[in-house]
Amino acid sequence: MFLSPASRALIGTRSLREFPWLQRAMNWTSSQMAQGRANIDLLKKNYIINGAMMVSQQNGTTAGTTTNYYPVDQFHMLISNGGAISAAQVASVTPSGSPNRLRVTVTTADAAVAAGDYSVIEVHLEGLTVADLMFGTSSAKTIVIQFGVRAPAGTYCIVVGNSPFNRSYVAEYSIAGGEANVDVVKSVVIPGDTTGTWLTTTGIGIGIRFGLMAGSSLQQAAGSWGTGAVVGSANQFNFMGTINNVFELFDVSLTEGTVAPAFMVPDYPSQLTLCQRYWYSLLGPTAGMYIETYGGAGTFNALAFNHPVPMRTAPTGAIIGTFTYGNCGSIAINSTSATGASINVTGSGAVSRLYAFANASSGVSMDARML
């Protein structure tokens, strides 16, 4: 048995055989195990990427108002109702010490919730990442979702579902009057689903929805697995009901078991790398991206590059901002794969040398997210 220096100091030179309890399996409860882990700063795997909301590659702190908008990496908005919101990463220290949180603000209220109305913050976890939770099998593990929240008083819902959302579980949590609009930590426990199809591939393994509004046709009773593509229960508070309502989400974790460990802010570089598996951009100062080839007339592959990390799938490429062209009129993304991409230039033939360089804050982006 390997012993830490502290344990060895405690035992001294005596034989381990004199301490049989050290080698005996303990029948601790989940809470006791959680406390034990906390005592020695040992935490369980958090399946949520960017749960500390520190990475916001695409939009920085710019607020967005549309559905599918990513205020921070991994977390996107799903919106369809008569109101309007703005969602953004904000600099506001959380109880665990993260410098950032996700803030949603109602800019146009919608007090009359129509049957198909919804407003949700959604997260998709890749199947490869959550395969060991064994959802869809008899060995499915119980999970606990813990998060920090600052919101108006009311009952809110979290929904966990599979890829097509034909398996879903609604869990409710409450913000009491005394907790309204102050930082609180909440958690919900969800038993693993033993049926249904849950992807363990590069597709969506688990989808999580933090409900803000749920129309009647998108509701399901809380506390058991169902088959609806829902966003909450009938008890979901209508966060959209009052202008200037603010909902802040931070310190989000999903761990196996029934008791969540205290949230630990992960190191930023690791989170950035994980996020780049799904989206990244190559932007920079003027000529930060420089493309050059010789050929004169025709279309030529002028630049090939590897992604910072292998991406989930071949990404969708986009050209961001503006380029300055020399002897060619345009560039185009020629191909993408999970490991790299290439860019073409098309020349007119008047001059052999063809080049294009990105202007400030311009370049390309690669998108392999799971919308």
Partner: protein, 111 residues
């Protein structure tokens, strides 16, 4: 204008944001495109870049150049003495010599 436009490769461009969508069944944009196709959507055909069209036009004009064709035929059948005579008769200064050399190089490159 259709929502999508084809390219010279298997990439499809979404015209609303000019996103280049690869042919990968796991790519979410491709899944969306495939569903759009299955629902009866028809993408716009590939349009060659103007630069390529301009070049093709210039190449056609070059191929149709009677003077060039004539020169090529004469070069193919001429003896070294005949080429010397041609140069002596047609080149009287450096500018004309440069032009003739360029022309011969172009013809040889096209052979």
């Amino acid at each position: 204008m259709s929502e999508y436009i084809l390219t010279s490769t298997d990439i499809v461009i979404r015209q609303s944001d000019h996103a280049f969508i690869p042919s990968d069944p796991a790519n979410c944009d491709r899944i969306e495109y495939d569903a759009w196709l299955a629902a009866g959507g028809v993408p716009d055909p590939y349009v060659r870049p103007q630069e390529e069209i301009n070049w093709e036009q210039r190449k056609q004009a070059f191929d149709a150049d009677v003077t060039r064709t004539d020169l090529l035929a004469r070069l193919r059948t001429a003896s070294p003495q005949q080429i010397n005579q041609y140069v002596d008769a047609n080149v009287t200064n450096l500018v004309e010599a440069t032009a003739l050399l360029k022309r011969i190089l172009l013809v040889l490159a096209a052979v």
